[in-house]
């Protein structure tokens, strides 16, 4: 936890405390007694929250606690069943997000809300309240370039959003809100896909903006380091109820964690057992090329081996070809040249090959890439196994009963929070979708597991669970390829680390305590 200490700045604390005395008079934004039901499930029960001008407020809670629901009610995306939103002391009816925008309340959503086929430029311009009838793109581009020059974040303006990596999309979302100049800014897990440096830069910048302009920021996050380093006050939700609130300076991380989960023990991350790596690799890539050479996101990998019983971590800033690598291994793309071997056999990522060679995959944005949102949790959990019976023989008719009991078992084993196994998977909270997919991919025997950003958006309990699962899989002899933009995660979990830059593997070193993050960071940025 040294990072936290480094970020901790006592001078700032005093200043923020002073601010509170003066700001106590009237909060900028107040949510009073918000309640929201989905069917007969209460996602939010009489929750109140006040934001002072210029403050940085953290909203904490486990996956599914109701954080996103709360802010969506404030933003007019959902209509609360009870409760009011008060802005500047005046009660406001916010019918839709556009009303919120007009009042100066902006939000960065957890699930991206950019239009995929439109360019960054078009998305930014269209998010304004006062889009002119006829858009002068030249002038807009000039204005935006000027705006971007003042920002610490950079995004390519003319790339359609669906070509951007998750990290770049997130940056675009944040830039969008800054561009709109919101008075109240709600950030729903904005840093999950940013590198630690980027996250610090963005939050530091937002914090400065809040201080200078009196903007209020509500930050939903699962990272305590961000709370202690940047936030003034914190509100904690547990199962739709406000479990606590306080000033960050008065609370320890343990206090906040206790408020979040109540009395419960966390999964113990198992020790790395000594494994005997086989003599031949489980996964081998030879001279693999994909995508137009030297364009964004293309890859050119000379050699990449993953042996049984080890975790190979692929580090890199998003947009350097990691997405394409995972797409190749999960069958979303075919390589233009080179060979992909699993256990010595050519691997085309078809369902048959994946089943035969026991390859499993946890892609990023699992709701989009690994689930069918409108199908039930139980159906989604059965995607790998619905056509096999308990002994692995092919069956022709679905065994609904077994699917359901399997689903119940997995839901319990991986603590997936859902209203029932038959609820559509799209109604699960972000983190629970992740757990459900991991539950599906890790059942049965797995020889090769490809995991892309597996802890994206998970609460600390779930992160511990999932890391434990990955290590356990490794200890069982599974070869794990871990692609992650979270360098800390890579360092903590990997036996070997490779750095990807512009589609090539530019650096390799040992993981764990021996890894030097400054050196790795340098290679990630392209100067190694």
């Amino acid at each position: 936890m040294s990072a936290i200490a480094a970020l901790h700045d006592p001078a700032r604390r005093e200043e923020s405390a002073a601010d509170h005395e003066s700001g106590k008079a009237r909060p900028l934004l107040e949510a009073v007694g918000l309640t929201k039901h989905f069917g007969n499930f209460t996602a939010l029960n009489n929750v109140s929250l006040a934001l002072q001008a210029g403050e940085f407020h953290a909203l904490l809670g486990e996956n599914g606690a109701g954080k996103s629901t709360l802010v969506k009610c404030i933003l007019g995306y959902y209509r609360p069943d009870a409760g009011d939103v008060v802005l500047d002391g005046r009660e406001q009816t916010i019918e839709n997000p556009r009303d919120a925008r007009r009042l100066g309340i902006g939000m960065v959503y957890q699930h991206f809300t950019l239009v995929p086929a439109m360019t960054v430029l078009e998305n930014l311009v269209m998010s304004r309240v006062d889009v002119p009838r006829v858009v002068d793109w030249k002038a807009e581009r000039r204005a935006l370039i000027r705006f971007l020059e003042t920002m610490p974040l950079k995004v390519p303006l003319d790339t359609p959003v669906d070509r951007l990596s998750a990290g770049e999309r997130q940056k675009t979302e944040i830039l969008k809100q800054l561009y709109l100049g919101s008075r109240v800014l709600v950030l729903d897990e904005p840093t999950s896909v940013l590198t630690p440096d980027e996250a610090r830069e963005v939050l530091g910048f937002l914090r400065k903006r809040a201080r200078e302009t009196g903007m209020a920021v509500l930050l939903i996050t699962h990272k305590f380091a961000e709370v202690t380093a940047f936030c003034d006050r914190v509100t904690v939700l547990r199962r739709g109820i406000k479990a606590g609130q306080g000033t960050v300076a008065d609370l320890s991380i343990a206090d906040m964690a206790a408020m979040m989960i109540g009395e419960r023990d966390l999964a113990e991350v198992p020790d790395r057992e000594a494994t005997t790596p086989g003599s031949s690799p489980v996964l081998r890539l030879e001279a693999v090329r994909s995508g137009d050479a030297a364009t964004r996101g293309s890859i050119a990998i000379e050699a990449l081996d993953v042996f049984a019983g080890e975790i190979v971590g692929i580090a890199g800033i998003s947009g350097n070809g990691q997405k394409r690598l995972v797409d190749l291994l999960s069958g979303q793309e075919a390589p233009d040249a080179g060979t992909l071997l699993v256990k010595g056999e050519p691997y085309d990522a078809s369902r048959a090959a994946a089943q035969k060679l026991k390859v499993r995959c946890l892609p990023e944005e699992p709701l989009r890439n690994a689930c069918v949102g409108r199908m039930s949790v139980s159906d989604n959990l059965a995607f790998r196994s619905f056509d096999r019976d308990a002994e692995g023989r092919r069956i022709r008719l679905l065994d609904r009963q077994r699917m359901r009991s399997e689903a119940e078992r997995l839901i319990a084993a991986y603590a997936v929070k859902t209203q029932s196994p038959s609820a559509p998977v799209a109604t699960l909270s972000g983190g629970n979708v992740q757990r459900a997919v991991l539950a599906r991919e890790l059942q049965g025997e797995t020889d090769l597991l490809v995991a892309a950003n597996p802890c994206f958006g998970l609460d600390f309990g779930a992160v511990a669970d999932i890391r434990a699962q990955l290590i356990a899989a490794r200890n069982r002899g599974t070869a794990v390829l871990l692609v992650s933009e979270d360098l800390d995660e890579i360092v903590a979990l990997s036996d070997r680390i490779m750095v990807m830059f512009e589609g090539r593997i530019v650096y390799e070193c040992a993981g764990g305590a021996e890894a030097d993050t400054t050196v790795i960071g340098g290679h990630m940025a392209g100067h190694g």
Partner: protein, 307 residues
Amino acid sequence: MTTDLGIWAVPLAVLGGALRVSTPFLFVSLGECVTEKSGRINLGLEGTLVFGAMAGYGGSLLTGSPWLGVLIAGLAGVLFGLMHGAVCSLPRVNDIAVGIAMMLLGTGVAFFFGKPLIQPAAPMLPAISFGGWSDVPQLRAALEVSPLFLIGILVAVLLAFMFKRTRLGLIIRMVGDSADAARAMGYPILPVRIGATAFGGFMAGVAGAYLSLYYPGSWNEHISSGQGLIAVALVIFARWNPIACFGAALLFGGAGALGPALQSVGVTSGYYLFYAAPYILTLVILFFTSSRNRALDGAPRELSITK
């Protein structure tokens, strides 16, 4: 009075055909392009087209002005569009099923009301001649163009401009591409879709009036040979680009004229095969332009067929 042109008669006829036959394709596909861009498919346009043909013909007959007939056809199309748009806005209603129902409804109602219109002769739309400089009569005939064709080109250009440069166009694209994003940015979804479907209905109605008031220029129950349906496919073929819709409509019109043209120069065997030219051409072009990597590039993601 005709000059013998030999084999040159064929390309001339194809050109003339392209200019004449393409107009209904152009109008329906432009309208459908807007509808699909907003995230809905309206297969009912075939019915709207037939109803528009009847309404246009009747309107021209009653008012004595073919242009009023066109307007009436367009407004009738708007009604059909609004109906489709509104029904599809109900929860759990599938736009394709509603479209098929509306197709049958439109043709049925048109035949019902159109019975008395088969005999009388309504005033026709005028033509503009671009062939005055030539003294080859066939060329002059080929260059007789309906003002609606020119209006169609103008609409295609305007729509392309709209999708690129105007707020309205961008909102339509947004609603068709990501309803979530549009909602998050606070743009209304259903009104935009209903409006876009109404516009598609208007264009299909006008296309119908073109059929009955210009070419072939009469009202009967065989007025349409499926233009309304084919135009829906043309939109996909043109990858939701209005200018490409124009190109596709021309290509289709020209290919459609190939069969009659060959027949007119005395090719008597196998010309039926050439009647299939537009469809074969479509398949061939689709085959050669398809690519695994950009199969649905440009496709609005909210469409029920791409979702």
